[in-house]
Structures are given as C-alpha cells and as structure tokens.
C-alpha cells in the first residue's frame, strides 16, 4: 500500500481541464467524456455504461455535443481531451435521447407496476429524467412479438421482452466472469441475448456467478427471490479463503439481498455462485436454537431417523454449561489435562479461535488444539517454514494482476477459488500472462493453458524436480538470487540432476516435450507465481511437495518482488486466521512456539495461569488417541470430522467410544449427532469480528442479524464456559479480544477493529502506524537465507493392485462447500447440484461395462459406498474423482488416513479403490457363482460343474436360462451380464 502523498503539482499533471455546459472542471487524464462528467457530478443518462466494463456505445443515450465535432457523439466512447467544450443538456441532445428512448420503449414489454426491478430500473429512471410522456410512448407502434421467458435457473429469471440489448450482461460474462455463457445472436431485427444453441440458461455453461444479474439495468435479468432490503451490512463471505467483501441486505432479521462490494480490493464487486446465492442456510429451520443434552441411556451409536428428540433433550444454557464444566473438570482431574482436546474452526472468526485456544491452553491446561488446516495446508506451513521461515501465502491478489506467468499445480482454481480463477482466465485470455497447468485431471484452466501437464496423482515432486533439472541444465536459473539469498543449492542441484525428462516422463506420464516447454516458460518468465491447492498438500509427501514448489520459486528468483510469489490458496474463509490465532498444537498466536520458555513465560504472565510446554495432539491423531484410551474428552467447535476426516469408520469408532464429546455448531452436523452436549452457535452474519483471507488480509465482519433462539456467538460460549470453570476472561466485545490478540501477537500488532473499516490490513502489521505487508520476503527471508531442499520423489503410500485397480482422488465442486452443512441447506446451491457423482474416464467405464448415471459401488481397504457414475474425459484413465460434500456418499469412507510424517496431513488425493456396478456388487455378495461369472466367465465355467445346456446358455448369453438357476436378476444387471458375456473370448 503506497503512502506517497501527491504534491499539488503532481496532481495537476494527472488532470485536464474541460468545459462542461460552460463550466470549467478538472478531470482525470485518460478518462472518457462520460466518466469525466460523472466524476464532476454532471449526470449524463446511459444504459450501456458500467464502470467495470469496456465502453460499448450501444444505447446512444449518452450523446452530447462537443465543440468542433460534427453531430452528436456518444460520450462513453470519446476520450476527454484538454480544453474540450462539452454540452450535455441541450435541446438537440435531449430530443435525440427522447427518440432513442421511444424506440427502446416500443420494444420493451412489461408493466412497471409489477416489475421486480421497478425501484432500481435504470430505464424508468431515465424516462423520468427525460420527461417522457404518454405521447412519446404512443407515438411508435409497440412490438407485438412476445418471447418466451427463461426461468430454468433456480436463482434468476431471464425475460428477453424487457431486454434493451445494452450488452452489459454479455460483457460482464466475458470481461468479469470470463465464462462466455451468453452472447448476442440472431442479429438484426430479432437480435437477442442468448446461450449457445439458444438453450435455457441452466443447460448452458453458465457458472451462476450472477455478475450479469447484478448489472442488468432493467427487469430482463432479475433474481427470483430478492426483496429490497431495509438496511445493508458490509461483511465478508463465509465460504472460501478468497475473502470477498459484500453487502448483506437485511429486512425483518432475514437476508433478502446480496451484492458484492465494489470498493473492495479483493473482489472489486464480483462474487461467485456461493457468495451470491448461498445464504439460505442462515435462516434454515434446522438451525440449532437451544443447547441440547443427550438423553440418559441413549448411546452414541444409537440409530436415529433424523429426529432430534429421539436422542437429545433441550436444555437451558445454565444447565448445559454446568454439565460441560463439571465433566471437563472431572476428566482433567482424573486423567490429567492432556486427556482433553479441542478442535477449533476455520469457519469461525479470529476472535473465536483466539478465545478457543486460550481456553484450551489456559483453562484446560493442554496444547491439544488443532483445526481443519491439518487436513488442507498443514504441509504448506511446515514446508514453507522450512524453506522461507514463514508459512503463509507470500504475495497478494495484486501480484496476480501483475505477473507474467501463472503456474497452477494441484488447484482447481475456477471451482475452488472462483474469483482468483477469473483473474487468471481474464489475464491469460487478454494475452497479459501465460499459464502452465499441472493437474492429473482436465480442469477448466487446462483449456487456457499455454502448457497443460497431466501428471499421475502423487508424482508432483518428480515433475517439479524435472522442471528444475531442465532449468539448471539450460542455465535459466537466477544465479544472483541463488548466490545472495539462498542456501543448499549444491545439494539440491546434485539431486535434481537425476530427474532428466526421460526419467520424469517414466514416473509422471508427462511427455518430455511438455516438461521442456514448461521449464523454459517458467525459467524465462520475467515474473512468475505458483498457485497451488490440495493437489500439492494432501499427500503423505505433502511437505516435500511444498518444499519443491519453494525450490522452483527460489531457483528462478520468483519470490520477494512484485508479480511473483508463493500462493498456497487457503480453503476456508478463515483458515489463515485460525492458524495465525494459534489454533495449532505447537504454537501460540503468531506462530510463537509453545516449547519456547520465553514465549511460555510471556503468555503465562498475560493470561495469569500456568501453561504446558508440551506440543499437543494434531487433529488427525485424535481418533487414534481416543482408541488408545489417552483422550477422554473432546470439544469440537464448528468442524465436522465425521465427514471430513479420512477413513471415516475409524473416526466414527473413536467418537463413539470417547467419554465426553461437546459439539458447538450452527447445525446438528454428522459429528454433533454423536455429542453428549450440543451448543447452538451464531453464524457468520450474526457476529462481529475478523476473518483473515489467503493473502493475509485481516478483514472485518459485521453483525447483520440476531442469532436464532438462544444461539450465541462462539467466543461468548467459550468465555461463559471458562468463567464457569473458574477462569473468567473478561472480554466484552470482539474488539476487546482483538486488542488482546494485538498485544500478544507481533504480526497482528497493528490490527485494531477500527483500523479495518477500509478494506482490511495484510499482516505482518506490526504497529498502529504500519500499513500492512502486500508481499513477504522482500530483501530477505524470515529465516535469513531461503533454504533449497534436496527432495527425492517418494511414491504415494497406496498403489493400485489387482483388487483395487483404480486411483481415487477427492476434491470440491464450484457449487458446494466441504461437508455441505451450509451449501446443501442453501436452496439455489442445492438445486444446482443436488447429488454427488464419481467421475470416471470413458475407457474405465467401458472396461467395467458402466453407463452414464449407473449406480456403482466403490470399495477400498477401508470401506465401501454407493454413488452415481459420471463418465467424462476430465478424469484421466485409471483415476476416479469424487467430491466430499455428500453425506449420502461420504467419500472419506474410502480415503487413506496415512499421514505425512512431518505435517501429519492425510493422503486424501491418492487411494486405491475398486469400482463395480452396484446391482452386480449386491447380487454377487450372496452368489459366489455370479461373482465369479462377472469377474471371469471362462474360468467360472472351468471351476463350476455345469451341464452342457448351462454352458451353452452362458456362452450365448441366454440370460433367461441363467436366471432359471441363479434366480431372478435385476434388469440393469441382465443387460450388463449380456454385454459382459458377449465380450468374452470363449
């Protein structure tokens, strides 16, 4: 952030003087006449102008007279020049505008009284401004053509009869969203905005981001369920780590509208499908409204049919807090403080997380606190700390706007971080930057890539070493940077020498020519960023992968300056903040180590209690510790391990046998169903505080609604509990908590809520005059010299075998969020993607005899589930992809809980599985002959004693005969079997 104060002279150099309607005004250099006039407070009517879009000159309403120019000119397309004399409100201008309006209105159907847009309709506003009267409207014959309305989308309606063809929606879709779902077609008398093939919008490639809806000046594009709000509250989106700023429109304690914050440097007014339509969950009838206590004698494993009262009874806060306080103290006394653990939440605010870790450390007396960062970016923190001395994203979104090259590896950016995805698409398409994509799957960004690499899952280290080998071989490394700022180059160079393109092709499956091309692109770029996600981190070699990413950046000097950097894209809205707040077992807020005596002393003094110096348990070890009997009590705030942990059966076993489980959440999550006590918490829109996004920007969230029933803000619940347990914290507000955070956390030293009113601050922000830090590692690394690690490739723990011949990899979809607690309770999101699927390559599907939408059974060493198959070339052959949002098909039943040895992150991205048609699987379970027949018909005939007639029936695929002795078969199974038998070489 620049703090340069412009002198008056400099300011003058940036402005020009023009005369508008006889008055001299100073306007910015380089703007159009329209923009200049608007900035000087002079209104010019326009329907096709949008400050975020390139000028279009379609509506002809912004016409003005300019001295020395012939005729009327459209002010939105004419650059303002020094000394220009402009007239915006002459009779000639207004007459032309009136005629234009008459033409537009003649083609505009609709009754303004009933139109949902009436209060915000720009057409109506301009008609009033121009003084349009009945005679104007009657002068031209109205169009009689009535076009069909498209209401196929769950969130909005497209009414072409109200469309004025300003093209704003088309340009927004192209320039802002970079989707191009809509365009102008049938140009001429019947021009209309439509999709490719003139199909309903829901069948198009529309991503439902709503950028068009937000900008449409008339009632042609309107949300289905939006009402004018009574007030608007500025806050931050609760979904992904991008941290978009938005306004929630509130009326009668309900959210009735949402719009992006145009002032925000994070999203510049843009939102994605979740950010715009995903807030119904807040008012969902299933919200928890009172504390719940498990009924006496009802075990945790007890089956339930979704009826809360079968398992829980409602309780008062007093009773519930008393019970939790009593049980936690009992367990602490009997088994010691380390028999208790807390899971904090990356969905909650910094203040919630700070109070949670203070409670765990100061009241419970243990460092057993962790949160879901363990499942997503634990390896980033460990790897980047080792390489740079700082675990966070090193750069800002601003650098993404400046870089010459994006290298996206293991991140499906357009689905998981849509706003960053659209920056990449926009810049690549404009030719401003090049793009390398490395992903086992074909993702949307692959289509934009200059070099598109598809490596085998889990071979990232080999691929990155291969790129470095070529870079060093061809002398493309940044020798000065290596010399001045790094250590360990010799050793690393010796190791990567082995990774020749031939070797790497063998390991990763990426053609040598692509490796060479990517290496040259990266090595020769003036500035490059590496963006990565779970594809890098969620491996047993996660830490190695991160170190390799760091190696590549340092080798080419692409860190610590503008337009470069290390960009681990954090998943949750506040996962960066939860880590910063010390919701980790080994560090206090600001990454101060718990086993450092001076740090311990500092916190003991500040908090007035004794603290433990033993690093605690990580989240992924909690289940094991419970099964071993070491852990007796668990407090879970806003996390859902019963869907998010790998090897769910193990997690369930553990949580069913723990002595005492408290869950604090906004819904009765899969985990909460197992709890002894459930505390109802407030959702993001019901509290004040801060979230820290992936670019380390601490942003303010504000309370828009009252929590339902007796639900309370998370930090207040924990504070109440601490008080009950004899250690009151004394916080009165979120601002109070932030003051304490700032006083104890160097990197948050200058963060105070009142400083965050305008756009937030990026840490490190050391004191109240510090402007924040847009990018890290300028001049030197936090650890002094950057460490280049020699990292050898190690294959994933599980590899495919005869019994489990496919690789399963997991991830997210655009429309949903993690375990679906929020997004599946949001009407639009749930309707857009009602079901989960497993994606499979056509070759695999053919081999298995599967058809699109077949129900299939997937099995791994750890469990089985049924889901629907979606056959697509997005998955490479041999790889099955499944999102983890659906409890009906919880993919983590299958995933591997093998951990990265250092970061303890599980290998979600590689599990060996088998896939089979579900009806076949079920039938084969109690029919060994059928199982064998499906597997290997020829062998089955040898193994079983069959009559000649039976053999003939099988060989000819006479299913009716086969049914007569194996029993009635399912219809789908019959067609499957006929195909199977017909393909056999007898």
């Amino acid at each position: 952030m620049s703090t340069v104060i412009e002198t008056i002279d400099e300011k003058r150099a940036d402005t020009i003087t023009v005369t508008i309607n006889g008055k001299e005004v100073n306007i910015k250099k380089g703007v159009t006449v329209l923009e200049g006039a608007l900035s000087a407070g002079i209104y010019i009517p326009t329907l096709c102008y949008d400050p975020d879009l390139t000028p279009y000159g379609a509506c002809r309403l912004c016409v003005v007279e300019i001295d020395g120019m012939r005729g009327l000119v459209s002010s939105c397309t004419i650059p303002a020049t020094e000394g220009m004399a402009v007239y915006t409100d002459t009779p000639r201008v207004n007459q032309s505008r009136c005629i234009t309006m008459e033409l537009i209105i003649a083609n505009h159907h609709g009754d303004c009284l009933t139109c949902t847009k009436n209060q915000q309709c720009e057409l109506l506003r301009i008609a009033q401004y121009l003084g349009m009267e009945q005679e104007h409207i009657d002068r031209l014959r109205k169009s009689t053509q009535v076009l069909p309305i498209d209401d196929s989308h769950p969130a909005f309606i497209r009414d072409p009869n109200k469309c004025i063809l300003c093209g704003i929606c088309v340009r927004a879709c192209h320039e802002i969203a970079s989707v191009d779902a809509i365009g102008l077609a049938f140009r001429g008398n019947s021009t209309k905005v439509t999709t490719a093939g003139d199909k309903p919008i829901i069948e198009s490639i529309c991503k439902s981001c709503g950028e068009c809806i937000a900008r449409c000046p008339t009632g042609a594009l309107v949300p289905k369920y939006e009402k004018p709000p009574a007030k608007e509250v500025k806050t931050i989106c609760p979904y992904c780590g991008v941290g978009c700023s938005l306004y929630l429109g509130v009326r009668d304690n309900t959210i009735v509208s949402v719009r992006g914050d145009p002032e925000s440097s994070v999203n510049n007014g843009s939102l994605c499908v979740k950010g715009r339509w995903g807030y119904d969950f807040i008012a969902h009838p299933e919200r928890l409204t009172t504390p719940l206590i498990r009924l006496d004698g009802v075990s945790r494993g007890a089956a339930h049919d979704g009826q809360v009262r079968d398992l829980f009874r409602e309780a008062t806060w007093d009773e519930a807090l008393e019970l939790v306080s009593k049980r936690l103290l009992e367990i602490k006394q009997t088994y010691g403080p380390d028999s208790l653990a807390c899971l904090s939440s990356a969905k909650c605010t910094n203040e919630d997380n700070y109070v949670m870790q203070k409670f765990t450390r100061g009241v419970l007396g243990t460092n057993n606190i962790d949160h879901c960062a363990r499942l997503c970016h634990a390896s980033t923190i460990v790897g980047a700390l080792a390489a740079f001395g700082q675990g966070a994203m090193s750069n800002s979104y601003d650098d993404l706007e400046k870089t010459n090259l994006f290298f996206v590896i293991g991140s499906n950016t357009t689905e998981c971080h849509p706003i960053i995805g659209s920056i990449i698409k926009r810049r690549v398409r404009a030719g401003a930057a090049k793009l390398i994509v490395a992903d086992p799957r074909s993702i949307e960004l692959s289509e934009y890539a200059t070099v598109d690499l598809h490596h085998q899952p889990g071979t990232d280290v080999a691929l990155l070493n291969g790129l470095m080998q070529v870079i060093i071989r061809d002398g493309l490394e940044d020798k000065d940077f290596i010399q001045e700022r790094t250590e360990g180059f010799e050793e690393m160079q010796r190791l990567v020498k082995e990774y020749t393109p031939e070797v790497v092709e063998e390991t990763t499956g990426v053609p040598q020519s692509d490796i060479e091309a990517a290496a040259h692109l990266f090595g020769e770029a003036d500035s490059a960023c590496i963006l990565y996600g779970m594809g890098i981190t969620q491996h047993t070699t996660g830490t190695d992968n991160v170190k390799s990413v760091a190696n590549l950046l340092m080798l080419t000097g692409n860190i610590g300056r503008e337009g470069t950097g290390f960009s681990p894209l954090r998943g949750q809205n506040n996962v960066q903040g939860a880590c910063d707040m010390g919701a980790l077992p080994n560090v206090y807020p600001g990454y101060q180590k718990v086993d450092d005596p001076s740090v311990k002393a500092k916190f003991e003094t500040a908090w007035g209690c004794e603290l433990s110096d033993r690093p605690g348990l990580v989240a992924t070890e909690v289940a094991d510790a419970i099964c071993r009997g070491d852990l007796k009590g668990l407090y879970v705030m806003g996390e859902n391990p019963m869907l998010s942990e790998p090897y769910l059966e193990h997690t369930q076993r553990a949580l069913e046998q723990i002595e005492f489980l408290v869950v604090q959440d906004i819904f009765l999550s899969e985990t909460a169903w197992l709890a002894d006590v459930v505390f109802p918490a407030a959702a993001f829109a019901e509290k004040d505080g801060t979230f820290t996004n992936t670019e380390r920007r601490v942003q303010r969230i504000r309370q828009a609604l009252q929590p339902p029933g007796e639900a309370k803000v998370d930090w207040q619940i924990i504070s109440a509990l601490a008080e009950r347990m004899g250690k009151p914290f004394g916080f009165r507000s979120a601002a109070d908590v932030m003051e304490e955070i700032a006083s104890l956390t160097l990197i948050y030293g200058g963060i105070h809520l009142d400083r965050l009113e305008k756009g937030g601050l990026q840490w490190p922000c050391l004191d109240t005059s510090h402007p924040g830090t847009p990018f890290l590692h300028q001049g030197s690394f936090a650890r002094g010299r950057g460490k280049l690690h020699a990292v050898d490739y190690t294959p994933p723990i599980e590899s495919v075998s005869k019994n489990y011949p496919l690789v399963l990899t997991t991830g997210r979809l655009l429309e949903h969020w993690h375990t679906g607690t929020m997004s599946r309770r949001s009407r639009v999101l749930a309707e857009l993607r009602p079901n989960g699927v497993a994606e499979m390559h056509p070759d695999d599907a053919t081999k298995l005899g599967l058809l699109e939408h077949d129900l299939i059974t997937l099995t791994s060493e750890r469990g089985r589930l049924e889901t629907t198959v979606h056959i697509t070339e997005k998955s490479p052959p041999g790889v099955v992809f499944m999102p983890f949002h659906w409890r009906e098909a919880p993919v983590n039943v299958l995933t591997n809980n093998a951990l990265d040895p250092v970061a303890k992150i599980p290998e979600f991205k590689v599990s060996a599985i088998n896939a089979v048609l579900a009806v076949l699987d079920r039938a084969a379970q109690d029919n060994a002959f059928l199982a064998r027949l499906a597997e290997n018909p020829v062998e089955a005939l040898k193994e079983y004693e069959l009559t000649t007639e039976e053999r003939a029936a099988i060989a000819t695929g006479d299913i009716r005969k086969v049914e007569s002795w194996v029993g009635k078969l399912d219809e789908r199974l019959k067609t499957w079997l006929i195909l199977r038998l017909s393909q056999e070489k007898w």
Partner: protein, 177 residues
Amino acid sequence: MTKLSVVQDTWVPLPEQEATIEERLNEILSSYQGRDDELIPIMQQVQQQFGYLPEPVIKQIARFLHLPDITIFGVATFYAQFKLVPTGRNIIRVCRGTACHVRGVARILQELENQLGVKPGETTADREYSLETVACFGACALSPIMVLDDKVHGKMTTQKVRSILDATGSSSELKDG
C-alpha cells in the same frame, strides 16, 4: 414414396455419418492454423461438408479457435448462409416473386408441402428434401418457378411437381443403393 415427417430440432446423424464426423472435421481443420479470423471460412467449409453446422462440430471449432461457443453461434445466426439444422440432400427453392405469385405459385408450394409433408424452412425426416422459398429468382419469364438443387424448373404445374419429385427420389435411391 414413404411417409415423410418433419425433422424435429434434435437431429440424430445417420450412423455412417456419425462415424466420420470427427474425421471429416479434423481433415477440414488441418488446413487452418487456429486464428480467429479463420472462423467464417471454416464454417463455410464445414457447412459444405455436412450440409449444416452440427452442434458438436461448433463446439470443436470453438475449441480449435479458442473462441466461446456463443461467438460462433452469434456468427452462424447472423448470416443467412449458415444453417444450424440439417438440410436435405436436395434443396427445393420456390419463388415467391410477383410474377410467380400471379401465375399461381401458391398452388405449387401447397402441392410441395403436401407431397413432402413439410413447411418452408423444414426438412423431411429422411433428409431427402429441404423446402425453402426465395423472394424472386429473377427468371420471371418462366414463372411459376421452382429450383431443385441447381436446376431451374419453369412453367410449373402441380402435375410436374409429382413427376419431378419421383424422378429425383428414384435417382437418389439408386445412388444410395
């Protein structure tokens, strides 16, 4: 002649065509570099090959040129020369000019509609014929006129319609056989 019905908006390619769509398209695309200014020549060549612009082909052209599908759709719907639904092997154009009108071309058109079972702008289900009208063919001396493929049939009568159709039908059956 077998009973004909109107082609609906979804069109299933004939098996022998489906097998070669990809191949034929790739052959066309192989002579281009992938620049967006090659769009219209590609579309023209595709239309010449396939008779119209099939949806999957539009998608492939879009990918080849790095253009959005909607851009190609916009171009295709702008020019009258491009067709998005398949046309028949034979195209019948009936003149609706003044001279033809006076000489009773409406009856000729009606007879064609009856015989083929389609309205102007439509194609028969066996994709043998597409029926179109043109504003004036400029051969008023021969009115009323219909043009079958590139052959002009002047001084038309309803009887001639039947014999012309029969002759064309059998010749294309022979070709196919």
